[in-house]
């Protein structure tokens, strides 16, 4: 990677961006007849920003955060989640999923950390949607645009939600808005991690830094730069290919399951109905 390449300013006017997202959330909840939200609060910056936006849109008494540590989670994550909840005035409920995952794999052989990680993400999803049903609360997703494009998330796990207010913001933009919203600096600055096993970091696992991949994704996706134009801009061909491969191979995570077309009108192909019909 060419460190001399021109850096693109990905910052957003925070008043405009935050105002837009708050209006979007408030409008969506009102239309759907929900006043309460629930989300997983990990202690990381994405869920912190998601929670603060929900509090701004719905009020702190209408937002519940679930802290769902696995057996391997760093205890500091829970401390950070508590700091975010107390700073922004919403209740944090402790719902450990370690026993669920342990029971699930009891007696299983060849359980690697990817299987455990996926099971933990899906156990959290079950907790959230169970809470959603019990308390008539919509599940807020907090996957960011970088993760969504790279497919860095568990299908039907942390990617599952009712509504996602931050899915069109790159990781570096989330950090910028977090700073604007007053998220504790320690939460913003710590190394992003799915916290699925000790010492795991996103950037270690992905093999590149968010600062770099956000620049590449912005030019590739938002500005539609060609491969040649990206190389000219200073990205290495290897880095570009790696990212393109991640995007194309993870498209299934961003789509409904493929359905074999048999009839004249097929769900997911040519049955065109807005999910907001009638609202």
């Amino acid at each position: 990677m060419n460190s001399s390449r021109e850096r693109i300013d990905l910052t957003l006017d925070p008043f405009v961006a935050v105002g837009l997202i708050i209006d979007f959330l408030a409008g969506h909840f009102e239309k759907k007849g929900f006043s309460d939200a629930v989300l997983g609060v990990s202690g990381g910056v994405d869920s912190a920003v998601g929670a603060v936006l929900a509090v701004e849109a719905l009020g702190g008494s209408h937002v519940k955060g679930l802290a769902m540590p696995a057996g391997s989670s760093d205890p500091a994550s829970l401390t950070d989640a508590e700091a975010v909840a107390s700073a922004f005035g919403f209740e944090l409920l402790l719902r450990p999923i370690g026993p669920v995952v342990d029971a699930f794999f009891d007696g299983s052989a060849n359980v690697d950390r990817m299987r455990i990680g996926n099971a933990a993400a899906r156990a959290r999803m079950m907790r959230l949607f169970d809470y959603s049903y019990e308390h008539h609360a919509l599940v807020i997703g907090t996957s960011n645009k970088t993760e969504l494009l790279l497919g860095y998330g568990t299908w039907y796990g942390d990617l599952a939600c009712s509504i996602n207010p931050i899915g069109d913001l790159y990781k570096t933009q989330i950090r910028q808005l977090a700073d604007f919203l007053g998220v504790p600096a320690g939460v913003i600055q710590k190394a992003p991690s799915a916290d699925l096993w000790p010492g795991q970091t996103d950037e270690g696992e992905l093999g590149f830094a968010y600062e770099d991949v956000d620049q590449l994704l912005y030019l590739m996706i938002d500005c539609e730069y060609s491969f040649e134009a990206l190389v000219d801009h200073g990205f290495s061909a290897e880095f570009i290919r790696k990212v393109v491969n991640r995007i194309t191979s993870s498209q299934f995570k961003r789509s409904l399951p493929t359905i074999a077309k048999v009839s004249a009108k097929t769900v997911g192909i040519d049955f065109h109905l807005s999910r907001d019909w009638g609202t």
């Binding site: 006017d13 008043f15 405009v16 979007f24 409008g27 969506h28 065109h272 807005s274 907001d276 019909w277």
Partner: protein, 294 residues
């Protein structure tokens, strides 16, 4: 008429719920009549919402439909511009605006330029209009543009040449492209277009954009009335459902056109000749294609 009292209502329609939206329109019409407005303007597809997609046929109305005639009756002497899905007698559907007054639909303007890129998919569901025509009103000839129409300079020019003294744009423009400096590309392009229309064509423009959300789209509102000098007469807040009355000095049009006689010097015959040559004449060499003699 020297002054036009125009009411602008940037509501958020319920998607697909024509009955509820009709009631909302009726309430707004009663309000505008109490305010002694001459004209009330609603946003694009105000009776149906925007993301109608495959349900176009279920929300479409013919211009003689009792829903439209009923609203026109409520309107009485108030002129009302609203957005609806038009069901044509040949079975096609249009993204249209109706001008209703005194118990009938007085004019229908179909959307000419259907956006079909990025998040937009209008050509799949609507047919393109093929006639842009201002209509007569007590305050002079009025031309309607529907959202993306306003971003095609030829459309506003055609209205001017056809005698429009007021251009009304109704829109369902989603917020997008937020920059570091508070800019938002969806807003900047419409602001630029309307100021340009007003100043270049020497007429007032009314822009009414909806608010509310549909799926991930948030419509930004920010409706505005601009005088022939390009100055803002009235501007509604962004993202909030709001309605307001604004007065337009109709005599400012003549003054503006005296100072800057764009209409007089618009040369439609020359434009026609050049368009004819471009479309029907010998194929012009493409610059940089390598096919030109060097």
């Amino acid at each position: 008429m020297k002054r036009l009292r125009v009411a602008i209502d940037q509501l958020a329609p319920r998607l697909g719920d024509v009955e509820t939206n009709t009631a909302t329109h009726r309430a707004s019409i009663l309000w505008a009549r109490k305010q002694k407005a001459d004209l009330l303007v609603f946003p694009e597809l105000s009776l149906t919402g925007y993301l109608i997609m495959g349900m176009v046929a279920r929300t479409a109305l013919s211009p003689t439909d009792p829903v439209l005639v009923g609203l026109a009756t409520e309107a009485g002497p108030l002129g009302v511009i609203l957005g609806f899905v038009e069901k044509a007698s040949d079975g096609r559907f249009y993204n249209s605006a109706a001008f209703i007054k005194d118990g009938a639909v007085r004019a229908v303007q179909r959307k000419m330029f259907l956006p079909n890129y990025g998040m937009f998919d209008e050509k799949r569901f609507f047919a393109e209009g093929d006639r842009l025509e201002p209509f007569g009103t007590p305050w002079g000839r009025t031309g309607i543009l529907i959202c993306y129409d306003a971003l095609h300079p030829a459309a506003a020019y055609l209205h001017e040449q056809a005698g429009a003294q007021l251009i009304v744009t109704i829109a369902a423009s989603p917020a997008r492209g937020i920059g570091p400096d508070g800019s938002m590309s969806g807003r900047e392009i419409f602001r630029t277009a309307h100021v340009a229309h007003s100043r270049l064509l020497g007429l007032p423009t009314v822009f009414v954009n909806r608010v509310g959300t549909e799926e991930g789209l948030t419509f930004w509102g920010g409706s505005q009335v601009i005088d022939p000098q390009g100055e803002s007469l009235c501007e509604l807040p962004e993202y909030e459902s709001r309605r307001e009355i604004c007065e337009i000095d109709l005599e400012a049009t003549a003054r503006a056109r005296t100072r800057f006689p764009h209409l007089k010097e618009g040369r439609p015959d020359f434009v026609l000749q050049e368009l004819w040559r471009l479309r029907m004449g010998p194929r012009l060499p493409v610059v940089g294609s390598g096919n030109q003699p060097s």
